[in-house]
Symmetry: D2
Subunit: 144 residues, 4 copies
């Protein structure tokens, strides 16, 4: 029982730094994933959610870990450049959702990927454990 | 014109660090990609290749950037744990190859993914540009 | 033969990210050093310098590696917060210069430090080697 | 009321990775600080302490944040090299202690630094706050 309900696309800006680049002079690729993670949280905060640490205190939600990522890299980037990440939620399932991120420089796509994530809470019986919960309806509504 | 020629699987060990983990207390996921990148270079060096910077001087090859990654995350990890990454090259195409990495803790799979990579050289006319080259036959032979 | 010639202070903004924080929920401290490095390059670019990769092509200068850092941490920070880094060059010596960075959140100092840096070029006889050069007079003039 | 009681020196090994290096081809310096942090926790674990997350559960101690660092960089390093970090606690004060780390490659010192740290607990009235505690006597004894 899942359906497609893409919400608004939101933009997130990244200024590529010297330390983000490798000896080939281009962005070390795990940083693209780091920026998608930033764009994901920025997306939820732009929808009106507080940072996870506030949600943890009020509702026990500690974040949205990944189930799966799939990314294609078309062009490289380097420091001194500004990138724009366009983020949507392209699918909500019962217990997960899927982001699509497109990273562009001056309108040209450098990198495109999806992230499938779950909302998690700490296990009340073992706070070192986290477990997935059904998508909170109010959060989904805020993002639609 | 591509074919399947999986070479030997090789193992790479990672000790998860405090600074690799996020406020939820688990590995911040881009680090899994960083470790796969380490396992990839370790794979080639175990096959007898020198580090990229030596290959750059002798043959102009500056590394093996990514075309595509696909990763599934099954279980989380935290600091103080030791992970083992099993890496193979599961496919060689004319101008790219594909790694498969399986990350395990005590034999249990935490994370599994593929990386499609190309060998690149600097463009002799514009050293800031890099471009893909056909898979070097000798390197392929060393890894088979 | 050195003298004190503090140039203009410049401000650099950092939005602290989830992935910048550790299992204690606060910024993992090497990130403060990473941000000071970003503030240093932003300082030079605000003075009118191009990114290092352009300087490398035109003048052989590949960057400004560190000789020494000294940092005091007064208060922690966490994600969702915006920090402001105030950067000056507080001293120019014949072959090095010293930055002072003060990192604040809402006007409160969290962290304060100095960086002593040198300008380096690649050794023309061994491009894998870099070596310090006298402070370029024109760059010093641009920043004063 | 403080005194000098340097315990045993302990060694920690680091294999420098491609992704640890910057466009100049050398280690991006905040990684040296990251490795000192790893060497610090490895030091305590070699003395018999469990990881912080276990100490947090049993005693509320969440780690040893930094008050101050001071580091000098003498030589650069690059990927494919193995570094050795020699770590001691060179001073215990009432509420803080000071590490000295020396990072060497083949016996040659690349980088040397001190870290002044405190043990912290979460504030029982506000778990988002952490505060310094007197040096736990048993931990000090384990490391002496």
């Amino acid at each position: 029982m899942s359906e497609h309900t893409t919400g608004t696309a939101r933009l997130y800006r990244v200024d590529v730094q010297f330390g983000d680049c490798d000896p080939a002079g281009i962005v070390f690729f795990p940083n693209f994933l780091r920026w998608m993670d930033q764009a994901s949280l920025a997306y939820f905060m732009a929808c009106g959610l507080p940072p996870w640490r506030v949600l943890e205190r009020t509702r026990g939600i500690v974040g949205t870990p990944l189930l799966e990522i799939h990314t294609r890299f078309m062009k490289s980037a380097t420091y001194g450049e500004t990138l724009e990440i366009e983020t949507v939620i392209e699918h909500w399932a019962a217990k997960s959702f899927r982001h699509r991120h497109v990273i562009r420089r001056d309108g040209v796509t450098l990198c495109e990927g999806t992230e499938t994530r779950v909302f998690v809470m700490r296990d009340p019986h073992d706070p070192e454990r986290i477990r997935a919960i059904p998508i909170p309806e109010d959060i989904r509504a805020m993002c639609s």
